[in-house]
Amino acid sequence: MSILIKNGHIIDPAQGIDKKGDILIEGDEISQIGGKIKKKADVEINAEGLIVAPGFIDLHSHLREPGGEEKETVESGLRAAVAGGFTTVCAMPNTDPPCDTRAQVEFLKNRAKETGLGTGLPVGAITKDRKGTHMTEMCELKEAGCLAVSDDGDSVEDSVIMRRALEYASMADLVVMSHCEDKELVDEGVMNEGYWSTVLGLGPIPGKAESIMVDRDIQLAELAGARLHIAHVSTAESVDIIRRAKARGVRVTAEVTPHHLTLSDEALTTYDTNLKVNPPLRSDNDIRELKKGLKDGTIDAIATDHAPHLENEKEREFNYAPFGMIGFETALPLVRKALIEEGHLSWPELISKLTVSPAKVLGYDRGSLAVGEIADIVLINPDKEWVYEKSKVQSKSSNSPFIGWTLKGAVEGVIIAGKQVQVEQK
């Protein structure tokens, strides 16, 4: 089986490619890239007007299986991911039961494989049952296929346990993804602390509740000599702390979500529970600093934090609704709007944050179109407008504040390990 993608605008930041050309895929690998390729292929795709890039890699998602299958399954989650151009997604371990053993890791990997919809990378828990008290058997998790561990949803509150987890994880060559949140400081907060929380009378979450933990975890990673990845950075202070840590050589990386780049806390005047996320939507100033952080490399990756919830869980009082929004299918147009339209990043820079850069965070050998690499490819129509309609949502849940929005930038096709995967026409 061979596929020839003709006349596309190839953007592969891993190789520094940003020009028109053809790509030939044979089997599951890329066999030729660039220029006019004359060879005959089983399938020819005319990619005139499209960007051809490595399939996106999402460092942060919640596939809800096992335990939350009514919200999302590995199958529905990966289908939504593919619709958004993601060919690899990291699945956070806050499932029920949590992903903290070899059996759980293998269950997830196999489930993902069965779907034929791209790679599901299980992120193992840092602590057993995500309780923050006993480390998981990280060496075995690594062997089972984990590249990272996280107690996402919570910080490891106990500093000594976090220190030891960092030390142990570095021995197992795992990156520790930290959800940075000082729960005591968050108290009963449900939105960013500032003018809007005051006006709306909603419990405030100070930005410092994040940056205090970012600071602690960076210092502990420094002490442990470990690789630390800061999940969903949302404040200006966090960006600043990470920037300074990187400057002094700490092995820290960071991600930001499309929604934190797109919406500020002012949006909550509607009390739309789909805007209730953790960390909360922040101020305009935070958004500006996040964009700067992406531009100067402080923030390495864009990750969705795709978090499905049922309609009846979200359709209620703001205080009682769960945190989180889905994000796979809207990621590309949102970051296009926030970063490209506003002139912060070029297409190659943006694609780098979705491909080679997250791959580096994980130490994962994808995210490039180099010859011999697994052919995970996304075809992007950069200027196509489409309406994000509830009826077309691929995820099992539809908790997105962007439903009804007209979005610009669409995924036209996805190739996973050399096979075309059908994406719903938008």
């Binding site: 005051t198 009378g201 100070p206 009390y271 359709e315 009082e317 703001f318 205080n319 009682y320």
Partner: protein
């Protein structure tokens, strides 16, 4: 009464003061004058809302506000139905949406809602055809309290514009404070909020007011003090060390007034008062206190609101619904 052109009331719901214009606030206050007169009649009841059904949906304990609304509705000849549920039961059992749909299926015209969660009345209004009146939602707004407060100020001092009004107490968790800030600033008063630093919420000055932790600063030059109820026992992680120290620093006592206050200062309190805490006994019962006038005015103002919403010309008012779907 002065003759002036009145704007029509077009809103279906009353969810907060923030969404009202100064003219709309004035309209309510002007109407309330008429309703206060009705309250003084031998038969203080008029038939204007006869045949309408008003539900008091109180998901948080309240005696005063609920009684005041119920009385207002009855004075207008509406039928009232009280539905009391603990908000916490919504967290587990029947969802608010289901409750709303169930109440609406009883063919009612208005829902007056008190809820522990900010935004709950807005949520309700999106799920029912009936008019919704916010009777206090979490720390967000308590519009009728603010309207009766400014009505009382206007009645006592003849105007609101240009006055200095200080709100004292737990500003962070107070819906009364927020609604009052909106109402007073829209009407041209200058507002100062005062309380322990732990109870002043972030960036509140951006609402166009002053914030201070100096009681003296709040009292000096003030025409009106609106003193909020302090609840110490409900604080999980205390915002101040003790009631004793609170009283020492922020309690309104006779000597504080003697030292710093204008002679004709007006003292308000949304009730119920913790005597000897936020207000000393003598101040609560003293000549400056208009606390009982507030209670009387509360019924008049709520009658005005029920009347205006009941006869709103806007979409969803009783008029449009009469011939409309429903």
């Amino acid at each position: 009464m002065t003759k002036k052109k009145q704007i029509p009331w077009e809103k279906k719901n009353l969810l907060g003061i923030e969404e009202l214009s100064e003219e709309e606030i004035q309209l309510i206050l002007d109407h309330a004058v008429g309703f206060k007169e009705i309250l003084g009649r031998p038969i203080p009841k008029v038939p204007t809302l006869r045949g309408k059904t008003i539900v008091n949906l109180f998901c948080e304990p309240s005696t005063r506000t609920r009684s005041s609304f119920e009385l207002a509705a009855k004075r207008l000849s509406a039928d009232t139905l009280n539905v009391a549920t603990a908000s916490s039961s919504f967290a587990k059992g029947e969802s608010l949406k289901d409750t709303a749909k169930n109440i609406e299926a009883m063919k009612i015209d208005m829902i007056i809602m008190r809820h522990a969660c900010a935004g709950a009345p807005l949520f309700l209004s999106k799920n029912v055809d009936a008019s919704v009146i916010n009777a206090g939602d979490g720390s967000h707004e308590h519009p009728t309290q603010a309207l009766l407060d400014v009505f009382t100020v206007r009645e006592k001092l003849g105007k609101v514009s240009g006055l200095k009004v200080s709100i004292i107490g737990d500003i962070a968790h107070s819906r009364v404070a927020r609604s009052n800030i909106w109402a007073l600033t829209k009407m041209g008063a200058s507002v100062t909020v005062c309380g322990p630093k732990t109870l002043l919420p972030a960036e509140i000055e951006k609402m166009g007011i002053k914030a201070t932790s100096s009681l003296r600063e709040a009292v000096e030059g003030a025409d009106v003090l609106n003193v909020l109820r302090i609840q110490f026992e409900r604080q999980k992680k205390a915002f101040f060390p003790s009631l004793r120290e609170y009283v020492r620093e922020f309690g309104i006592k006779a000597d504080v007034l003697e030292k710093y206050a204008k002679k004709d200062i007006v003292i308000m309190h949304p009730g119920p008062i913790n005597r000897g805490v936020e207000l000393s006994q003598e101040v609560a019962d003293g000549p400056y206190s208009v606390i009982l006038d507030q209670v009387t005015n509360g019924v008049a103002v709520r009658m005005a609101i029920l009347f205006l919403l009941g006869h709103a010309r806007g979409k969803g008012g009783l008029k449009s619904r009469k011939n409309g779907k429903k």
